[in-house]
């Protein structure tokens, strides 16, 4: 690794100071989640009465159970799973197809299409949500999974990323495949797709987090509780009460965060790469 400093060059008091600063930052980053968890297993009176007491003497999972039985949380989870699966798969397919064509194809209008990709980066999705909502009404896609997914699938970022990646693949592979008589689709499925595994994995994580956490667009396009993805269900659930049931709110939040957290703990490096992708490619 370039530009890393040697341990020997730092006096020990500075190492201690660095540890203290970084430890503080790390604790500040994680503490809200840990504390939310510890609170979510407290009985209600303790949540209201003793917010600071870290560990409750009588832990309970009543908030999780009440929340799950009183709200169709399982359905929201299923909705989110459907949306995430569909959006991630469709984006990977379309982005890698288009990225491949823009990187290796020779056809008229290639540069123009690439400029279009760069140009759509500038458009904030929020700015087109009103017309898109009207358009979805035209084709009857309000209140459908497809209506929610399509905005995430259409985002230009993946094309850009996959194009950058495929530019680094040597043309000799493609020429060899052409010699063997493979057509463009065979080259895509048998060479380009498997070679792009790492970039596809990073893009998949990126899209997964994006779709799993999407809030504004699903809130706009869906108006029935049966179609809510988790974030919308959660966000609106909290506002239903005059007196917020904090135990349930925190329990539900943690249930929502849990799959992402577990995935993150299992594959930290991939997650950081996936999210920081935007930085790596200077989109």
């Amino acid at each position: 690794m370039a530009a890393r400093f040697n341990l020997e060059s730092l006096p020990s008091w500075r190492i201690v100071a660095i540890h203290v600063i970084l430890m503080t930052a790390a604790i500040l980053a994680i503490a809200p989640f840990v504390y939310a968890f510890l609170t979510s297993i407290k009985p209600s009176p303790e949540i209201l009465g003793a917010p600071l007491q870290p560990i409750t003497p009588n832990p309970t999972i009543e908030h999780y159970i009440t929340f799950w039985t009183e709200h169709p949380f399982d359905r929201w989870v299923l909705n989110s799973l459907i949306l995430t699966t569909g959006a991630v798969f469709a984006s990977l397919l379309l982005d890698s197809l288009a990225g491949f064509a823009l990187a290796k194809g020779e056809f008229r209008g290639r540069y123009g299409i690439f400029l279009l990709v760069i140009g759509t980066f500038i458009i904030p999705p929020q700015a087109i949500m009103v017309p898109l909502f009207v358009q979805m009404g035209w084709i009857g896609w309000q209140n459908t999974y497809w209506g929610i997914m399509i905005l995430i699938i259409s985002a230009p970022f993946g094309v850009f990323l996959m194009r950058q990646f495929y530019l680094s693949i040597s043309d000799s592979y493609l020429e060899a495949a052409r010699m063997a008589g493979a057509n463009t689709f065979q080259i895509y499925f048998k060479i380009i797709l498997p070679m792009g595994k790492s970039a596809l994995a990073a893009l998949a994580i990126f899209k997964f987090i994006f779709m799993w956490g999407a809030f504004l667009w699903p809130l706009i396009i869906v108006d029935s509780g049966a179609m809510f993805p988790i974030p919308v269900g959660l966000g609106l659930f909290e506002g239903q009460y005059g007196d917020t049931p904090w135990g349930q709110v925190l329990a539900a939040s943690l249930l929502t965060a849990a799959p992402v957290l577990v995935a993150y703990i299992l594959a930290q490096e991939a997650f950081m790469k996936g999210i920081a992708l935007q930085g790596g490619v200077k989109g």
């Binding site: 399982d74 299923l78 909705n79 699966t85 459908t144 999974y145 499925f189 797709l193 509780g225 179609m227």
Partner: protein
């Protein structure tokens, strides 16, 4: 052509709330993704790691069944 558009429009309307007591949108999505993954793993079977893709594909098919059989519950209506 028109017929194809009509069929496509019908299939896609299945994901709509109202048509979705067994969540047909979910069934369509999971089936499509599952078959897609299995096909990709079949085409590229000589590569390593493709068995994982195939397992994932079959899991998606299982999810399609699961979402078809998802229990009916009274859902809260518009908020």
């Amino acid at each position: 052509m028109t017929a194809a558009v009509l069929v496509a429009a019908y299939l896609l309307s299945l994901g709509e709330q109202g048509h979705n007591e067994p969540i047909l949108g979910g069934v369509i999505t999971f089936t499509a993704v599952g078959l897609g993954l299995i096909w990709i793993s079949y085409v590229n079977r000589e590569f390593t790691g493709m068995s994982k893709v195939r397992i994932l594909g079959f899991m998606m098919l299982v999810m399609a069944v699961v979402s078809y059989l998802w229990p009916h519950r009274p859902w809260p209506t518009a908020v």
